[in-house]
Amino acid sequence: MSTLTLIPPDHRALLADLESPSFVLGVDEGRWRVVSIEWPVTLLAVSAAPRAGAPDEFVLRCDFAGYPALAPTAVPWHLEESRPLTPGERPKGDRVGFVFRSDWKEALYAPFDRVALEDHQNWATQHARFTWTPDRDVTWYAIRLHELVNDDDYQGV
């Protein structure tokens, strides 16, 4: 039995999409990178626009179980200390501030997050363009995260 067959289908699907030209392009251009994978947990670092006193990238601890049928869910993560970011360490701004809010569950407050979608089923119609569906992929997800912390609206931490 080959090693590949021991890898569950959701993990295999993610690994295949991480090798797609569109995801690799983002890596080549420094927009995002995969820090590690300990299935189903994947640490994804997304580069951020320069802001005074803010980091040049944010790491998300993503859970890709069920990928791509199920949306991922993620927590903004402190890589060195292996813990969620504190409120003071999270990105701020009009849109991004809502997505990275800390006064909620340990998930992103967005229709591309599994936990948020479970709590806001109206978002699937209200924000259809931003709602995770099984035809989305990790590149689409990374673009959503990257645009949030590179928006003109992003104010730093």
Partner: protein
């Protein structure tokens, strides 16, 4: 040299080419039909041009088989604006035109609050995508300029 090739219909792909290859040689690798364009260029590459020299620091090509020119319509606030673009034009370039003084003339603050989506679909027009990759077989593309969505409630 690794190239990223945008297509009319297929997803983004990569292509390894020799540094000395001409545009015609690269085109031949992809079946020989259509034209190759440098990203955001107004005209296709001449077949005799060395692709590496033409690209400079860039690595993005568009391979068009259908349209050398596309009509892009942008809808905003009940009004529409129309302009012809080459297939290799990025959505970022369309956004700059649509929000600029030849488009809907949005202020800098308003520009930051808007984005483009494909009309009547759930598709976000990503800034890095090419017009030719989103257009229909009739060489036209309709985009909505809409306020960025906030996830509340």
């Amino acid at each position: 040299m690794k190239l990223y090739v945008h297509d009319d219909d297929a997803p983004l792909s990569t292509l390894e080419v020799e540094d000395t290859m001409t545009a015609q040689a690269v085109l031949d690798l992809r079946g020989g039909q259509g034209d190759l364009w440098i990203e955001d260029a107004d005209d296709p590459l001449d077949g005799n041009v060395c692709v590496k020299d033409a690209l400079g620091d860039g690595r993005h090509l568009h391979h068009s088989r259908r349209c050398r020119r596309l009509t892009v319509t942008v809808r905003y606030g009940g009004d529409t604006k129309e302009r012809v673009f080459p297939p290799a034009a990025t959505i970022q370039r369309v956004f700059q035109w649509a929000t600029g003084n030849k488009g809907f003339d949005l202020s800098k603050a308003e520009r930051a609050k808007h984005e483009l989506g494909v009309c009547g679909s759930g598709v976000i027009a990503e800034r890095r995508e090419h017009v030719g990759s989103l257009a229909g077989p009739d060489c036209s593309l309709c985009l909505d300029l809409a306020p960025k969505e906030r996830f509340e409630g």
